[in-house]
Symmetry: C2
Subunit: 326 residues, 2 copies
DNA sequence: TACAGTTACGGACCGCGTAAGCATA
DNA sequence: TATGCTTACGCGGTCCGTAACTGTA
């Protein structure tokens, strides 16, 4: 068993069991990958993938376990390389972030700009995807930081730090009946079609829950990860939009009316995280402190050494809509 | 960076920085180890060990971090081998246990006998040591299971399962003034020299605490890991011994009087554990259920998947002196 | 025929052990 | 002089890429 074999194994898994693609990803030739995987299977004594004729089709139950541990091996090996890079040149490296749509679109751009000015030799990349996708990217070491809102469930192997909290805002066209109101009720909202800014799985919508509890039903006519789609819909006068307050741009959305909805919906927490046990380069600490002032080096380091998420949560208490920065 | 280099690195660390010894331990020659470590240092770009002339003396701070991650790599790689062994021959393998003196001496022998009868092809070995020593053995993968009493502090990276609970017993010679008493008080005890069965660090003695709280001082004249030493001392009539109840043998200690002391001292918990995230062979599950009936496969598997020790503790509630087996 | 994976072959490289060299007590 | 690590050297294995082969849609 060699690290190379485990790299091939992991790459094959991440390339939909296509050896040719996996080989290309690692800058190797296809026979090399094929041979090393055959050798690994022979050494382990059982098949890792089931063959569908000549093509590999899917992983066996045993293979799944092996891949899980293989990835752990590779992550720990990457940690060694990170320690080395940090010592040799702390200001040079890579920062790969995975984020869901809203964070990538509204929260990150200004921070990224600031970060790149401070660390011109750090190659920055941003990978937008669903929470499932970015969790998988982190597991395969393709990204170091993850940013998402809620969906904690998917990130149990992560150290999660609260970044900021926010409320939904109601967005309507200027001509809409609700345009002049403040503090609209659930009953009022329930008479209109709703365009909702999707956070996680559609079935886990906190919006539906709020309506149900008040004895009404939400008529959700549109859901989208991209708040701009919601705005377009609202501009057409088709109903009421509900989006993150960060997604409301005072200038470009001047034709729309946005109404505070903090009395209706619970606050969301946008957090940033990394895989438990992974090495954090110094510039990652810097990035986090740029992202939110309360994520300073000392507190992040303390969170990093916590064994459980519960301990971390006590380090970052929440008051009302804000994470408290002592 | 290769797995072999990490193995050499880890072995050197565990051989007191003696390359010759490390090479012998791994069945390699000394130049091979020397060269691979030099290559690794060159690849990483910094020294891992500080040289004291020609000999290696100690690890650098950076080296310490690298070793930490190198060991993790090796543990995860071992997990892959364990998965493989389990699939190829579930009844063949190794079971290496680290235990402190009392467990190795009194609790384990009968279980080991039973286990070896059921699994003749599993090579069993038992390694007795201080809690510090066995924790270090587990970190370097030399043992898979750990058994100890209290000293939780040293085993934060472990999954700990309560095995059984026990009280200290007072042991005196038949001619001793306390021989006829039941429920002796702290005041009575404080007039005699005490020989204490040592559990963890001498400064963390719960005995001293009990005495202090009652307003007395314990005159501890002897401490020992081996309860037999305490018995010898008591036989000489030199004072009062306090040992684990498991260490009292009805037949062989018939010349001594043992007195229940559960009213005086808090119960101790003897636990068994393994490193978090390690693969457990099927026969390890069997061993655990032989060790204590409440450690059945289903519950151990559940504990294994817990992320925190606190979760595990709720799986094994305690009532009085016993771990509850539902 | 196109596609995906395996087998065959020759070359480069790499890691090992033996043996000699070098520094420190 | 003994100990412990490093360098030199030659061998054997191993890994790789190119190329040819096999099996499947």
């Amino acid at each position: 068993m060699t690290l190379q074999q485990l790299r091939f194994l992991s790459a094959l898994f991440e390339s939909d069991f296509n050896i040719t693609a996996a080989a290309a990803k690692l800058g190797a030739t296809q026979p090399a990958v094929s041979r090393q995987l055959a050798l690994l299977e022979r050494e382990l004594g059982f098949t890792l993938f089931s063959r569908n004729g000549s093509a590999y089709s899917r992983v066996t139950p045993a293979g799944e376990r092996v891949i899980e541990y293989a990835r752990r091996v590779l992550r720990e090996a990457q940690n060694i390389k990170d320690v080395s890079a940090e010592i040799n040149d702390p200001r040079r490296g890579e920062l790969r972030i995975g984020a869901t749509h809203t964070e990538a679109r509204y929260a990150l751009p200004s921070v990224i700009q600031q970060f790149q000015a401070s660390f011109p030799s750090v190659r920055f990349s941003l990978h937008q995807g669903t929470p499932e996708q970015i969790a998988e990217m982190a597991r395969s070491n393709r990204i170091q930081l993850v940013m998402a809102t809620d969906s904690d469930r998917l990130f149990s192997q992560f150290v999660r730090l609260p970044c900021y909290r926010w409320h939904g805002r109601i967005l309507v066209a200027a001509s809409h009946p609700l345009a002049g109101t403040t503090r609209p009720s659930v009953e009022q909202l329930s008479t209109y079609a709703i365009a909702e800014h999707l956070l996680e799985a559609p079935d886990a919508s906190p919006l539906q829950e709020v309506f149900t509890r008040a004895g009404f039903e939400a008529r959700v006519a549109l859901t989208a990860q991209d708040a701009e789609i919601i705005k377009t819909y609202v501009r057409l006068g088709h109903g009421v939009g509900i989006i993150a307050d960060a997604a409301v741009d005072a200038e470009r959305d001047a034709d729309l009316v946005s109404i505070d909805a903090s009395h209706l919906f619970p606050a969301h927490t946008t957090w940033v995280g990394f895989m438990r046990g992974s090495v954090l380069r110094q510039y990652i600490y810097e990035f986090l402190s740029m992202l939110a002032p309360h994520l300073n080096g000392e507190r992040v380091a303390r969170a990093h050494s916590c064994a459980t998420q519960a301990e971390i949560d006590t380090l970052f208490p929440v008051r009302g809509e804000d994470v408290i920065s002592p």
